[in-house]
């Protein structure tokens, strides 16, 4: 049940980010200055943490989505759904640890 709640919340968060992401990327069509200026406002620690949270949401939604596909299409999916949730959480940690080390060292590396 909580994986269902988590899937909905991360889904909505990602959708609203996507709307903004297409709009800001569209600034490349306006001018290089406009795009680089707006992207420049993202290059600070607060946005960096927001990006980390966004990737955390995407990675959870991705792995839990694959779990839903497994439950719906794999004969034994239903039987193993709880174990599959553990697999989702473990994979989430395995992906997030190297990502956070890399991303946060760039964000807080001050270069």
């Amino acid at each position: 049940m909580w994986s269902w709640v988590g899937h909905r919340i991360t889904g909505v968060v990602i959708f609203f980010f996507l709307l903004v992401h297409v709009l800001d990327t569209s600034l490349v069509r306006v001018s290089p200055e406009a795009y680089t200026a707006v992207i420049g406002t993202y290059k600070n620690p607060i946005m960096g943490l927001g990006e980390a949270g966004l990737v955390a949401a995407i990675v959870f939604h991705a792995f839990n989505g694959l779990r839903i596909v497994a439950i719906d299409f794999w004969k034994k999916g239903n039987k193993y759904q709880a174990r599959l949730l553990w697999a989702v959480l473990i994979l989430w940690v395995v992906v997030m640890v190297p990502f956070l080390i890399r991303h946060l060292s760039i964000v807080f590396g001050g270069h």
């Binding site: 297409v22 490349v28 290089p32 680089t36 992207i39 290059k43 299409f73 760039i106």
Partner: protein, 154 residues
């Protein structure tokens, strides 16, 4: 007291108001359900690739400026990659939010309003994104800053 008899489900004797509607909406909900799963699997590949190339490789997120985007979209490979990602992610996300609106907005008028706003936003974003990918000029005339390196040949 006599025990009431209750017909088994799907026996054909169920009161017509409890049977599922035939026709009308067709198989739209079933197609939407299947689309969520198929597009989801493709999106995992597209978005993980997108995040890896943009956030992990080279200087990571700090490398992103006009030149970075221009350099990528100079290649049809990334144009198609991003186009597929745009369409699949927007349709997947729109269908997800549609489901959530249907679940939580109880008044008919609220549901209609929210879904209208949603569909307008979806069409605007998909059309805008598609136009930007295909009408984009990596070396715009008069521009000087943050151009990709291949523009200097001009």
């Amino acid at each position: 007291m006599a025990t009431p008899t209750i017909d088994a489900p799907r026996s054909g004797k169920v009161d017509v108001k409890y049977t599922r509607r035939k026709g009308g909406k067709g198989n739209f909900e079933m197609a939407a359900w299947l689309f969520m799963r198929l597009s989801g699997v493709v999106l995992v590949v597209l978005i993980f690739g997108h995040l890896f190339v943009n956030l992990m490789v080279g200087d990571g997120i700090h490398a992103i400026d006009f030149g970075f985007v221009a350099g990528k979209w100079a290649s049809p490979f990334w144009q198609i990659w991003d186009l597929l990602m745009l369409w699949l992610a927007m349709l997947h996300g729109t269908n997800g939010v549609r489901t959530i609106i249907n679940d939580y907005a109880e008044r008919n008028a609220t549901r209609m309003t929210l879904k209208t706003v949603l569909y307008v936003a979806t069409v605007v974003i998909i059309v805008l994104g598609t136009l930007v990918i295909f009408t984009f000029d990596p070396c715009p005339a008069g521009a000087v800053t943050d151009l990709p390196s291949f523009c200097t040949a001009k």
